[in-house]
């Protein structure tokens, strides 16, 4: 390390929760103006480490930690987050903590308002001081400007797009003059790629002013783009600390999961353009808030994995949700040469289509119910599977045994980590919940399977397993899979063809071997006219 004293020095941090060791002897340094990437799978100890740094009450309540934290060479032991704030540490969480009815200025200077005296305060004391709005506005403007974005300080937070909320939150942290160290926990998770780019640029700019930044994300490319150093945590230990220039995405991913992530398999070679069309979509429109589909026409071939990509909000999620009848839709969807009824989920399921929703917890799962119900329910209701007719079919009796068998089978096949088929779905981790959603769709034995954002919010290792499960299912059963994802790399690793959606229309369809540049151009709508002229 350099001669200069590190801004933050964490030495030998060890933490146990009820005898369960989550951090072991973690040592971490960060200098002024440095951007440090902190990566690790879910449960690797990232959040615990940050909670210790922040003096979160959960740490104190569970018996504190061993090891030392020092800032500017002075040992500190924060008892609560306010101490940490006073010492110049700021944090931006994944979930926003902003007041929707307040303007950007008011949110940025919340609890740090500039006040001035007035007549009333002379009599009634300082609690009735009034706000110095022009000055507050100036400060807010300054910190927004520092981020390099354009947000009016007078906009209400409720009226902002998601990206601007994130920036507002960031501006709130950096307006304080004592700010030295900023912790960002998955700041780009809710942003579109272009917004994420802007954010990364602003972070570099902040770092240049001498603020140290700890950056936590699942998106490894971002880490490589902006961090000076990367610390990789696995099972509560620092497995590696490297300068970004000395490593690449493969190595980081590998260190994170501790096993080598299988290299991208090229598109399936046996894919044959001439196979029959199983699903054709003609002039589909879907009224899904935030993901409007305007005019989509597609042909999907039997047995292929068809990818749909595009930027957030352009309508790619609307396509499966519309076809499956979850949002109002119009146009024609023809499966096996027969038109299916739109706006009727039961009809879509009966026709032989199934859907794994992007909204796993909202639509995908019965969180309080047991896993076997979660897996078998759709097949039971839509196809009368796992039922025993009693009294000559008058009563459709639930066959609990068959349900349990099918659940056990899929839990084994997909390697779902759970205590038993009776465990409620909410107790599983994100990756395993996603596998339950897949099992639910597999149990329907569909001809066409829509999978929407299958890897959103799950860690690298689980991602690979989910994609592998899809590929295996496609190969083994010849099921046509239509996968919608915002991660282009993921689509390229598994799909036979990839359509890019832009402004509610298909901008073009490319083979996975096409270059990133070609995809990028389609996404930002550069070659739309060309693609349209092809049709």
């Amino acid at each position: 390390m350099t001669e200069q004293q590190p801004l933050l020095h964490m030495q030998g941090i060890t933490k146990e929760y009820f005898g369960n060791r989550v951090l072991t002897d973690v040592t971490l340094d960060i200098n002024r103006g440095e951007v440090l990437g902190l990566v690790g799978e879910n449960g690797a100890g990232k959040s615990t480490l940050m909670n210790i740094l922040f003096g979160m009450s959960v740490i104190v309540q569970t018996g504190g930690y061993t090891g030392s934290v020092s800032i500017d060479g002075k040992e500190v032991n924060f008892q609560n987050p306010f101490d940490a704030l006073k010492a110049g540490i700021g944090m931006v969480h994944q979930e926003f903590s902003l007041i929707p009815g307040f303007t950007a200025t008011e949110n940025i200077l919340l609890n740090g308002e500039i006040l001035h005296d007035n007549i009333v305060t002379k009599i009634f004391g300082p609690r009735l001081k009034t706000l110095n709005l022009p000055e507050m506005r100036a400060i807010a403007e300054k910190s927004i400007e520092l981020l390099g974005v354009e947000i009016s300080p007078d906009t209400l937070v409720a009226e902002m797009p998601v990206g601007h909320k994130q920036f507002t939150e960031l501006a709130r942290e950096i307006h304080r003059p004592e700010m030295k160290l900023l912790v960002l926990d998955e700041p780009t998770a809710v942003l579109t790629e272009s917004e994420a780019q802007v954010l990364l640029t602003s972070l570099r700019r902040l770092a240049a002013t001498g603020i140290a930044i700890i950056f936590i994300t699942h998106r490894l490319q971002e880490i490589l783009d902006i961090c000076d150093r990367i610390v990789i945590l696995r099972d509560g230990q620092v497995v590696k600390e490297v300068a970004t220039s000395d490593t690449d995405i493969g190595q980081v991913a590998e260190l994170m999961v501790g096993r080598s992530v299988s290299a991208k398999s090229a598109a399936t070679e046996d894919y044959n353009e001439s196979t029959e069309t199983i699903l054709s979509v003609d002039q589909l429109w879907v009224d899904m808030p935030g993901e409007t589909v305007r005019d989509v026409s597609l042909e999907v071939h039997k047995g292929e994995i068809f990818g749909i990509g595009g930027l957030a909000g352009q309508g790619k999620l609307g396509i499966p949700n519309g076809i499956m009848g979850l949002y109002p839709a119009g146009g024609a969807v023809i499966l096996h040469g027969k038109p299916t009824r739109l706006n009727d989920p039961a009809a879509a399921l009966a026709a032989g289509m199934a859907f794994v929703s992007e909204d796993r917890r909202g639509v995908g799962l019965l969180l309080e119910e047991a896993l076997d119900w979660n897996i078998a329910f759709t097949a039971m209701q839509a196809q009368n599977k796992f039922l025993r007719p009693l009294l000559g079919g008058l009563i459709q009796w639930r066959d609990d045994k068959a349900i349990q068998n099918v659940a056990t089978e899929y839990i084994k096949a997909l390697d779902i980590k759970c205590t038993s088929t009776d465990q409620p779905a909410q107790e599983l981790s994100g990756g395993n919940q996603q596998k339950i959603c897949l099992a639910k769709a597999f149990a329907v034995q569909p001809d066409v399977l829509f999978v929407s954002e299958p890897t959103r919010g799950i860690d690298v290792g689980a991602k690979a397993l989910v994609l592998e499960a899809l590929r295996t299912y496609n190969r083994k059963n010849g099921t046509t899979i239509i996968m919608i994802s915002s991660e282009l790399e993921e689509l390229r690793s598994i799909c036979d063809r990839i359509a890019i959606v832009d402004e509610g229309r298909i901008a073009g369809i490319l083979p996975p071997s096409a270059t990133a540049k070609e995809f990028g151009l389609l996404m930002i709508g550069k070659v739309k006219s060309e693609a349209n002229s092809h049709e």
Binding site: G362, Q381, R398
Partner: protein, 347 residues
């Protein structure tokens, strides 16, 4: 130690505390001169009287329609069935069965329209249900006066028109279930086998229903309506079915209640019938969107047990007639306690 802890976790502290209280009341009872066997009989009879009304809470809770504060609607259907049956001059078993059959179409109709209404006010079901219950009772207060009943057993002796506030079931189907296969031990202990069997039968139907395809779909609707919709289920239809079931159970429940109680109570009679049933199922451990038959049985025994025991024990202990006051304090206190226990399981 571990098994004790697991038991506590499973049963829940509120139930354990109330059960302890009930048990201690039974222990104290002999020392203040209250007969234990008589008290046990009272508790069992009250359980049988109220059980089916409490059971009627289950379907609506399971589909996420909340607690059925609109129970008076079902009760009114039952009252219509009972009064029409008497009007037709049916007595004994025929009278009781006739009352149920006659109540059914009313319950179906009321339940169907009540279900349609609740589908329009998703999220505020319990508030709306309360007022549906209250307003239907008030509406019927007029109708009991105006409907063309003629049976001299039921109408006011003076004036000759309009139904009386209480109508005795003596000579019709009084204790028809209570007296079926009754077990008597000594002069103070009686077990109303027929009534308990009838409750068990109604509980069995409920249990079986939730093991069918439709019942399973209803449970899923309560757990996560969006999931159910994505699985091709007509959510509104399931909710309507559950409301109809709750209403039909309310109608049958009041008939069972009356045959044991001995009177048909009209006018404001059904007004506060919903609250004890709601309290019982909550004390039994149900949440706003999850309930099962065990919750019903445990909750009804605990609630009715405390309600039976507290007034008689306290009354004897302080040697004065405060039973009605104590009963009201205890029952409303338990209802308040139960309502603070309302939990909405997070989705």
């Amino acid at each position: 130690m571990n098994s004790i802890r697991r038991f506590i976790e499973k049963a829940g502290w509120p139930r354990i505390i109330i059960a302890m209280l009930l048990l201690s009341l039974f222990i104290v009872a002999p020392s203040v001169g209250v007969r234990v066997d008589q008290s046990i009989t009272d508790t069992i009879v009250r359980f049988g009287m109220n059980g089916i009304l409490v059971l009627g809470m289950v379907p609506m809770v399971q589909t996420g329609c909340g607690l059925n504060f609109g129970l008076p609607l079902g009760i009114i259907a039952g009252l219509l069935g009972a009064t029409i049956s008497i009007e037709l001059g049916l007595t004994g078993l025929a009278g009781f069965a006739g009352a149920m059959v006659l109540a059914a179409p009313f319950a179906l109709l009321f339940g169907w329209s009540y279900g349609k209404l609740l589908n329009r006010v998703k999220g505020d079901e319990m508030m709306i249900a309360t007022y549906v219950g209250f307003s239907s009772v008030s509406f019927m207060c007029m109708m009991w006066m105006l409907l063309p009943y003629h049976s001299s057993k039921m109408i006011w002796g003076y004036g000759g028109a309009g139904l009386r506030t209480t109508i005795s079931l003596e000579g019709f189907w009084l204790h028809i279930l209570d007296n079926f296969l009754t077990v008597r031990i000594g002069s103070n202990f009686m077990f109303p086998t027929g009534m308990i069997l009838f409750f068990a039968f109604m509980a069995l139907i409920m249990w079986a229903f939730f093991h069918t395809k439709t019942g399973t779909a209803m449970t899923a609707v309560g757990s996560n309506p969006d999931y159910a919709r994505a699985a091709g289920i007509n959510v509104d239809k399931m909710r309507t079915i559950s409301v109809i079931m709750s209403t039909v159970y309310g109608a049958i429940g009041i008939l069972v209640f009356q045959q044991s109680f001995g009177f048909i109570q009209l006018y404001n009679g059904p007004f506060f019938m919903a609250l004890p049933a709601v309290a019982a199922i909550l004390i039994g451990g149900a949440s706003v969107n999850k309930a099962n038959i065990t919750n019903v049985v445990i909750g009804t025994i605990l609630f009715q047990g405390i309600l039976t025991m507290t007034p008689s024990v306290i009354n004897s202990a302080i040697q004065s007639d405060l039973s009605e006051v104590v009963r009201i304090i205890v029952s409303d206190g338990m209802i308040v306690y139960a309502l603070t226990r309302v939990t909405r399981k997070s989705r």
